[in-house]
């Protein structure tokens, strides 16, 4: 009987320990957010959003970072979504179950585990040098689309897999070809899941800095880009630049930049969660 009590006590202690351990991640997240908000809020003025970086912390702004990030993300989506969705459709609907298909699938999962800085080296060697695009928005966006491509592919695949077979069978029975079925039945039904993947890749592209640094994104830009061949900066790089300056005020400025970055990311995350809840219900 004593032994049973001892085992039950051990179980309770274990329960307590793993609950506290679970809280560690949450507590650190809370400290991180509070610390950043406390430091950054005083610098979040109207001019912070409309000014260029400056030697004077209270005049410095994040406008080029925001414009650069928006440009990069729009182009990245324009490249990565058609290719990623197309790949997913091919793999789920057309591809035969042979060695080539298996190889493509393994390759995609390896690509998703490749560090983003390696994509940066690829971008530097291929887009900047061989293709001669230089240190431009286009080089950055092409590199970034390769970074997010596995995310788009995998989430589109999941979405396509979740479309029930009877919808396809109904379409075939009416005489539709595979392509017509995909276009008019499968993709519309999978759209919420595909959209979730797109948003996930937007938030990844927004937070990534290493590949952009590699293709020569500037950390200090004094005019807005006028074409896809312009020099550019991005939100996280602007933050990185301020972080590296010795003056303590610039570190607070970096915190203000982080607040902007996190606000955008949390908004996109919230959209994903809402969409997923809606989507899960409609499938059930």
């Amino acid at each position: 009987m004593n032994y049973v009590k001892y085992r039950k006590l051990k179980n309770s202690i274990f329960h307590g320990i793993i609950f506290c351990v679970t809280l560690i991640g949450i507590v650190i997240l809370a400290i991180l957010l509070i610390d950043i908000i406390r430091r950054g809020i005083p610098f979040l003025t109207k001019t912070f959003f409309t000014n260029f970086p400056s030697r004077f912390p209270n005049k410095a702004g994040i406008l080029p970072g925001i414009v650069g990030s928006v440009n990069i993300i729009l182009l990245t989506i324009a490249f990565a979504v058609p290719v990623g969705l197309g790949t997913a459709v091919y793999l789920e609907e057309y591809a035969k179950n042979n060695r080539l298909t298996k190889f493509i699938k393994i390759n995609i999962s390896n690509l998703s585990g490749t560090p983003s800085i390696v994509y940066g080296l690829l971008g530097l060697a291929v887009f900047v040098r061989v293709m001669g695009l230089g240190k431009s928005i286009l080089s950055g966006a092409l590199t970034m689309s390769l970074v997010v491509l596995p995310i788009v592919i995998v989430s589109s695949q999941e979405a396509i897999k979740a479309v029930p077979q009877y919808l396809r069978h109904g379409s075939y029975a009416l005489g539709a070809t595979k392509w017509q079925t995909i276009r008019k039945i499968v993709i519309p039904a999978a759209l919420p899941g595909i959209f979730t993947g797109v948003i996930l890749s937007v938030s990844r592209a927004l937070g990534e800095s290493a590949p952009l640094l590699m293709v020569g994104a500037a950390t200090y830009v004094s005019k807005l880009p006028d074409s896809v061949f312009s020099v550019f900066t991005a939100l996280p790089l602007q933050i990185y630049y301020w972080m590296g300056l010795p003056k303590e005020d610039f570190k607070d400025l970096a915190a203000a930049g982080i607040i902007v970055l996190l606000a955008i990311l949390l908004t996109t995350n919230a959209i994903t969660i809402v969409l997923r809840n809606k989507y899960q219900r409609s499938v059930e």
């Binding site: 039950k8 051990k10 179980n11 274990f14 329960h15 793993i18 609950f19 351990v21 679970t22 560690i24 991640g25 949450i26 650190i28 997240l29 991180l32 610390d35 950043i36 058609p82 290719v83 197309g86 790949t87 459709v89 091919y90 057309y94 591809a95 190889f103 493509i104 393994i106 390759n107 390896n110 690509l111 585990g113 490749t114 560090p115 800085i117 390696v118 080296l121 690829l122 530097l124 060697a125 291929v126 596995p150 592919i153 070809t177 392509w179 017509q180 995909i182 937070g207 800095s209 290493a210 640094l213 590699m214 996280p236 933050i239 990185y240 972080m243 982080i258 990311l265 949390l266 995350n269």
Partner: protein, 310 residues
Amino acid sequence: MTQSANAAQDRKAAGNRIRRMKLSNTVARNILFLFASITILTTLGIIISLLRDSIGFFAEVPIKDFLLGRVWTPLFNDPQFGVLPLVSGTVLITFVSGLISIPIGLFTAIYLSEYANRKVRKVIKPILEVLAGIPSIVFGYFALTAITPFLKNIIPQTEIFNALSASIAVGVMTIPLVSSLSEDALRAVPDSLRQGALALGSTKMETSLKVVVPAAISGISASFVLAISRAIGETMIVTIAAGARPNLTFNPLQSVQTMTSFIVQASQGDNPHGTVGYYSLFAVGLLLFLITLGLNVFSHHMVDKYRKEY
């Protein structure tokens, strides 16, 4: 007469339409295949561009000196390219961050999958997803401006840039990776196993640790390997918080340089195209790519080999 001519015309038109439909199906299939092959081209592009520029490097520096050399001074007048200090920096950061992410992630997963009720899970899981979505640059900032001063308070000989602070940030960043993948693995274990253990009089703790965790071990270890691979490739946190001194040490209070932070540092400097310094970027990149590729392949292999079908 005209009626049958009309019917023939209709049939012909319908036949044409069907042919067109089939043609567009074939065209679509081929275009989609081209899209799918872009993923293979990407891998080929990575391998070719890393190899091509590494060859320039290894023409000047023997592979043996690169892999076994203990001094990394690419910017000196008499540069030495022994990669071991960068490797030791990477290993140190990866090891210490693993000491944080692996136990915390696994315990979190056990709690969420075996102990927490639905309500608690519904609160904790989205918070962990937020943690997972925070960019590494933010963790880098946190390491530099919060963790390092905190460490300096406790241990005064901590350097301003140090491996420990970066490792803690990398560890925290990878907690959600370990916890979500391990939780998936734990939840995939069928309830019949748990019920069997409980029916034999086991406590929940004994059931979790002696039955459920061993049954899910392939997925759990795959999550560990992925966390390690992520820590090896992590760039911004170490660039910001760990410093830039190639340092063959396992003292986490000192400044170190990792493979990734060297790549960033060298790409920001003015290493003219065609010099050994420029090529060294790609040689280190190649080593990094091979290591993470090996780990990824290993983790898939493990999942395949030890996956049990229930």
